[in-house]
Amino acid sequence: MGKVFWAFVRKEFYHIIRDKRTLLILFGMPLAQILIFGYAVTNEFNDAEIDVLDYARDEASQQLIQHLQSSGNFVVNNVLTSEKEIEAGMRAGNAKVVVAIPDDFSEMLYAGQPQKVQVIADGSDPNNATTLVQYVTQMVNSFEMERREISPNPYQIGIETRMMYNPQLVGAYNFVPGTIALILLIICAMLTSLTIAREKELGTMEILLVSPLPPLLIIAGKVTPYAFLSFINAVLVLLIGYFVFDVPVVGSVGLLLLMCFLYVVTALSLGILISTASATQQDAMMRSLMGLMMPSMILSGFIFPLASMPLILQYLGKIVPATYFIEILKGVMLRGVGLNFILFEVGILLLMTVVLLLLTWRNFKIRLE
């Protein structure tokens, strides 16, 4: 029996290796994703374009404009002369923020009278607006401090902040675990459900089912190569994270791989479940895209924090396996915790796997309709 099984696994391997497009998904996708997340996708601001409406037009206001640009966060696009021009830059999307300096700016600056610098932000992007207004406020405050040489106040609560686990605030620390979870899911769940649906659609499933191999072995033979390849992928992402983006593995590597294995089993059972429910490839594709990909990206806390979502979505996020897996990965990889700290997440993942396997068991049919 063992020999036949391995022959079957080998057949499946050939299927994968021979198709360029499958290889594209298998290896091109994780590579593209990790590079995009690593280099291109950030929420930080460099060189945000702003307009300045300078009523004062004197030395002090010039210096303020200089000071704003010196931070590296802003590039002044246009210096406007009247209020009417504000709208044009915003509509075209060339100005995210307009800073208006009042005409008595310098007098008031030296006299120490309270005064207002107005900031008008393009609120159509709320994220941008709040962050940029914060930056401008900081820069204006530091400008004033410098100019008026204010001595520090002794009566102050000092704050010593330590950024734990990620002192440099590198984005990669957050996305490497998320990417691993996503890749494992795509390969294990989507690819397996697609290949099984394909065999059904082409009619080759029937041939396999009438062969002397027990159906369970057929399924096992189909998923083994994917499990193996997804494992290689997970290691690949970890290596790229480590060597290119300096993301460490603080905890035990053995435990990490064990957890990956657990998640692979969960994802595989999901994939088989989807394939039992769908008759065509189009079906399987839609189900795995909508049922797996979207929730795993959006509701798992990978890109957006779960805690800020409405309650219903938080509950929905709790039934997404990726939520727990990402938590486990962050724990073991970055916080360096042992098994005793992640027992809850591991338990939930195990429970999910058992339930999914039972469901698959019940839905799996040896006969084709």
């Binding site: 994703q33 930080e44 509509r91 900031v119 609120g123 009566y155 609560i157 704050i159 984005g171």
Partner: protein
């Protein structure tokens, strides 16, 4: 012309007979709109904090009260032991650990500027910065209150309070409502996505089933075949867009400041562009699976780089240039500009030009690469 009419008719009949397509055009966009618009927010609303108050003084209690009263913060526990607090953070039950050292209050009144310790879970760097920023401002406001209360301090600090005030207001979306920003973007993404997947699967399906042979032996010209595929899916895309616009108006009350005609005019060009890409992918695949994989690969990259979730402006310059051949990025930018800011044609001319060029390139390639003979 008559041939083209029949081709389009045939395609429409196929679409209408497909039971799976109708819910995808109506329910799917609405569900996605609701879920994504609510989920995709980078706000930091719930920060779990652990306080280690070793001082137990008036100041430390005032600080505790201030933090508890702020609804952004949830006090998880207040142990006396650093190790216990750190364990909570290891278990991910705490985002911030704030430690107030012994004799803090005494040192404060002596003017020694004592320090509280703040440990921040910084795995998500952006969240960590925002969260610790909130706590910083709470502490600063407490400090200001104490100074106000002590006449002795006021006199020494008086002329040191900053006097330049930055007042800010936000145009177009004064309450900074997140769904107003997300909904138009998601709508654009969804429309482009569905049409690209449908068109990529379509030709290849005919090839796999074998019906394409029957078309190949007829006198139908190449461009007629491609246009016959384009028009029906264009209609599907426009229906989806209409349903989505109505849904986001009803559910989120998003503003529609610009001209709707401009949106639809642009959408037609953009849809022709993505349909051309879909057909191109379809032409180069022999099986549906292959088409799905290639389409999936591109779609994934398009979505991550289209500016829907993270702003294009904050990408490095080379990555910003890479978004030029991404039709999704232009669509999202146009729908946001026109709907939220009421931009006119002049403001979005570049998006128009790029999309137009891309549409020509993709569709020419699609016609060129469709071969009647194997």
């Amino acid at each position: 012309m008559k041939i083209l009419g029949y081709l389009i008719q045939k395609e429409f009949i196929q679409i209408i007979r497909n039971k799976a397509l109708l819910p995808m055009m109506t329910i799917l966009p609405i569900v996605q709109l609701i879920v994504l618009s609510n989920a995709a927010s980078n706000e930091v609303k719930d920060i779990k904090i652990v306080l280690v108050d070793k001082d137990q003084s008036e100041i430390s209690r005032a600080l505790t009260n201030k933090i508890v009263a702020n609804d952004r913060f949830t006090l998880v526990s207040a142990p006396f032991d650093n190790q216990e607090a750190f364990n909570l953070m290891q278990k991910n039950q705490a985002d911030i650990v704030l430690e107030i050292p012994i004799d803090f209050e005494k040192a404060y009144y002596r003017g020694e500027t004592p320090k509280v310790q703040m440990l921040v879970n910084a795995i998500n760097g952006q969240q960590a910065t925002v969260g610790s920023g909130y706590l910083n401002s709470i502490i600063a406001s407490l400090n200001a209150e104490i100074i106000q209360r002590e006449p002795m301090m006021i006199s020494t600090v008086q002329n040191q309070i900053a006097s330049v005030v930055v007042s800010s207001n936000s145009w177009y979306n004064p309450e900074l409502k997140y769904p107003h920003f997300m909904a138009p973007g998601i709508l654009a993404e969804l429309t482009a996505l569905l049409t690209i997947v449908l068109s990529a699967m379509n030709v290849v399906r005919e090839r796999e089933i074998g019906t394409i042979e029957q078309i190949n032996v007829t006198p139908i010209k190449k461009w007629q075949f491609i246009v016959g595929k384009l028009v029906p899916f264009l209609c599907v895309g426009l229906i989806l867009l209409t349903v989505g616009l109505i849904a986001s108006k009803l559910i989120f009350d998003i503003p529609m400041r610009g001209s709707i005609a401009l949106i639809f005019g642009y959408a037609i060009i953009n849809l022709i562009c993505v349909l051309g890409l879909g057909l191109l992918i379809s032409n180069f695949a022999n099986t549906q699976q292959q088409a799905i994989f290639v389409a999936f690969f591109f779609v994934m990259i398009f979505i991550l780089m289209c500016g829907l979730f993270t702003p294009i402006d904050s990408m490095p310059k080379w990555a910003q240039y890479l978004t030029i051949p991404n039709p999704l990025a232009h669509f999202i930018s146009v729908s946001r500009k026109v709907l939220l800011k009421g931009s006119g044609f002049v403001d979005i001319r570049w998006e128009f030009i790029y999309t137009f060029l891309l549409a020509i390139v993709f569709n020419t390639l699609a016609v060129w690469s469709y071969k009647k003979q194997e």
